[in-house]
Symmetry: C2
Subunit: 314 residues, 2 copies
């Protein structure tokens, strides 16, 4: 392409705000859909405190409504999966002909929802390994990591290989100083990410704690490891093999990182809906359809469903 | 016996205070070991608000130290299992020759500890189905149930039948208006009680709730049922068969009863040690020695160990 690639960032929170600001700083043409912080971001732009270097974007292209946005080459979905019912109204207006959806979410099943909402458009996933929190309106604190793994969605769930648009987008991210990785098998990548997410997010909420405390206590560390191995068995039931050493690698990584308040815990503390179905319900159903049970994951699922309902008064 | 049977109540809390007061009112010679409320109980006696009728015992025989107590026919252990390390100093001074220990605790393993602490004395168990809380010094509120099931401990774990001292004690309790039941197999009775206790106590603490909310929410109700069935499988591994319908009976009973704050939750809220080893650790180890795993029980165990340590700053 001659012109810089045009991105719509749908959801300018801890994740969308961070990657969008980095792409913007690197010269991409980035348009931000902003919900609660709209007035503030329109007037003051975005502030990113980052372990890679703080920066400010005093002016950004901010919108309150997708119908005001230009059509874009990439519609990056950085909403929580709990808002995916909005995709049919959000995606079509912002997608240029040949534009692609880039789903930046956790859990399983989001790509299928995006594909249904944007028929005729390719759907890619960006699996983000990012520790970042929104600390104020338009103000993001990036504490650790940041790498992104790209993979292509296919309706039949088979490995879809590495497409041209994946490479192009990865170049933008790499130019923005983001570590990128291109994967040929989305489902494998999703299950690998669940290996960490399922124990750490759920236990953080249920036990009102952070990753550091979970790893320090021998009982919760052993529980996290057992849950990781159960998720790996769930992946296997769906035809995705994850090496046995992967669990240990995730544990070591978590031990090494700064104690982190998982994003599910952040949502819970703010009395927002948690991504329980995306991270727990959908993997449980996928494994179940493949004939596998994940009783520890199901236990967390049920505990989280109870807490989520009470937390939001439903 | 000619004289009324003499009871030492070791631990005058929600449970020991309630049964002790009832025995006392019915004419037994009851001596109370009182810890934190000693001065108050010595001056004001015991107050029992009960669904069976409120009553006051303005004067009771209260002691701060077992060495001041007379020797008794029955040493009723109504301490939490977390205090069983005290039994070697508490039991010998209060047991008359031929006196028996009556263990009024939850979980597994307490009888063996009592037997080691009082060599030469028979150990009986009283499994208490009681909803009661201490609401103030020497002030007990009995909200529901109250039945007691007696069973005899044997060192080899086999069913020990129904002894004479069991019958005698059961008569005292019955005379005090307590519903009693005599069982020939302690281990079966213990596992049956665990079927209710394991899900309800642990989930109440982990999810910061009561039995009513656990039963109302479909996810936690299903989780409680799965845990019940796992405990029943654990019992089976130890040679104790519990009918399949027992879980449903426990669920129905819990649905029917007033929402109850489990005693483990009361302990947790007061930052006291929880009976995690008695109710979770010992059954897990017993099942494991018999070759059975209880992964959901183990999950609760690990969650509770984490919360217990943090709750008491250890």
């Amino acid at each position: 392409m001659q012109h810089p690639r045009r991105y719509a960032i749908l959801g300018t929170g801890a994740l969308g705000g961070f990657y969008g600001a980095r792409l913007c700083r690197a010269g991409c043409d980035v348009h931000f859909l902003v919900h609660s912080d709209f007035e503030h971001v329109r007037q003051h732009g975005l502030v990113v405190d980052s372990k890679d270097g703080d920066f400010v974007l005093p002016r950004v292209q901010a919108y309150r409504d997708v119908r005001d946005m230009p059509v874009c080459d990439v519609a990056a979905v950085a909403l929580k999966a709990t808002h995916n019912h909005l995709l049919p109204s959000l995606l079509p207006p912002v997608l240029a002909e040949g534009g692609v959806v880039l789903l930046m979410q956790n859990g399983l099943g989001g790509e299928a929802e995006a594909a249904r909402a944007a028929p005729g458009h390719a759907v890619l996933a960006a699996l983000c390994f990012l520790c970042s929190n929104k600390v104020g309106p338009g103000h993001i604190c990036h504490s650790d990591y940041g790498a992104v793994r790209f993979a292509q969605y296919s309706a039949d769930g088979a490995a879809a290989g590495i497409s041209e648009s994946m490479r192009a987008m990865a170049q933008d991210f790499a130019a923005a100083g983001i570590e990128v990785d291109l994967l040929d098998d989305l489902l494998l990548a999703r299950w690998q990410k669940l290996v960490w997410n399922v124990p750490m997010s759920g236990l953080s909420v249920v036990l009102d704690t952070n990753t550091g405390a979970l790893m320090t206590d021998s009982h919760t560390r052993a529980l996290a490891e057992d849950i990781m191995r159960e998720v790996m068995a769930g992946a296997r039931s769906c035809g995705r093999h994850i090496d046995d050493g992967f669990a240990q690698k995730m544990l070591d990584m978590t031990l090494a990182m700064k104690p982190y308040r998982a994003s599910m815990k952040v949502d819970f503390d703010a009395h927002r809906a948690m991504e329980v179905e995306a991270i727990y319900g959908n993997p449980l159903r996928a494994a179940q359809q493949a004939g596998a049970r994940m009783p520890l994951v199901e236990t967390l699922y049920r505990q989280l469903k109870f807490l989520d309902a009470r937390n939001r008064g439903i």
